[in-house]
Symmetry: C2
Subunit: 135 residues, 2 copies
Amino acid sequence: MDLHEQLRARGYRLTPQRQLVLDAVTALGHATPEDAHAWIQLRASGVNISTVYRTLELLEQLGLVNHAHLSHGAPTYHAATAPEHVHLVCRGCGMITEVEPAEVEPMTGMLREQHGFQADVGHLTVFGECATCVP
Amino acid sequence: MDLHEQLRARGYRLTPQRQLVLDAVTALGHATPEDAHAWIQLRASGVNISTVYRTLELLEQLGLVNHAHLSHGAPTYHAATAPEHVHLVCRGCGMITEVEPAEVEPMTGMLREQHGFQADVGHLTVFGECATCVP
DNA sequence: GTTGGTGCAAAATGTTTGCACGGGG
DNA sequence: CCCCGTGCAAACATTTTGCACCAAC
């Protein structure tokens, strides 16, 4: 099901801007609103930054992108077509590693059973230090 | 070791403002810069918000407070004297639950052994839905 | 008396909104 | 042709910075 149909099914229109924002997030893998905006500027006449914000919000409602909070505060979006994953962010070098949700299942299972808490794994970010940066 | 000594040991001065900011964070448990500022206004003539920011940054350097990212984007500080803990944030009702680091040891141990990643547990926040909000 | 810390105001940053025009359906 | 979506500019919220004065030591 392509973007056009996804939008029409909910009464929204397909515009070049919306396609570009989704393309940007898909191509970049991890993109802040500014990252996506910059990517678009490189290959199109330009999309206003406020349209990028509005579009990311819409795409997230549609379930086409998700966001997590990586580098402090800035929301980072990634396409929902990519498999859900946990992010490890290294404070030393800034490197971002992706980990399979299955690997943290022991923790999420514990939270569910012990605390009745249903964790949103796709939104989970673990800060720390990677192998090369550990003191 | 009290705040005065902690500061002097590193060449900083003790001021009423610094004591108040630390008091605010300790009393509130979880406090954004604005929360701390508001708490101080209630019992002292007033501390400028920019001083609150500068002081929180300093106290974090000294290891007297830590911060995590709870409600999207806003940094939330807590006193380092409180035992380190993981935060569970419910998207439904906003409730914040604290979990012992020992409980997530299976995950942090796995990250350390499988990925060489040393997780900062005190900074870890898990978003999801609590028992009463799960659909 | 020195020097670092604070208050104030302005700037920088990131995000949202009101409105009129233009393009998608 | 209608109305949603966009660009633009302004409003907004949050955090940072420059500078003169004041207080800690």
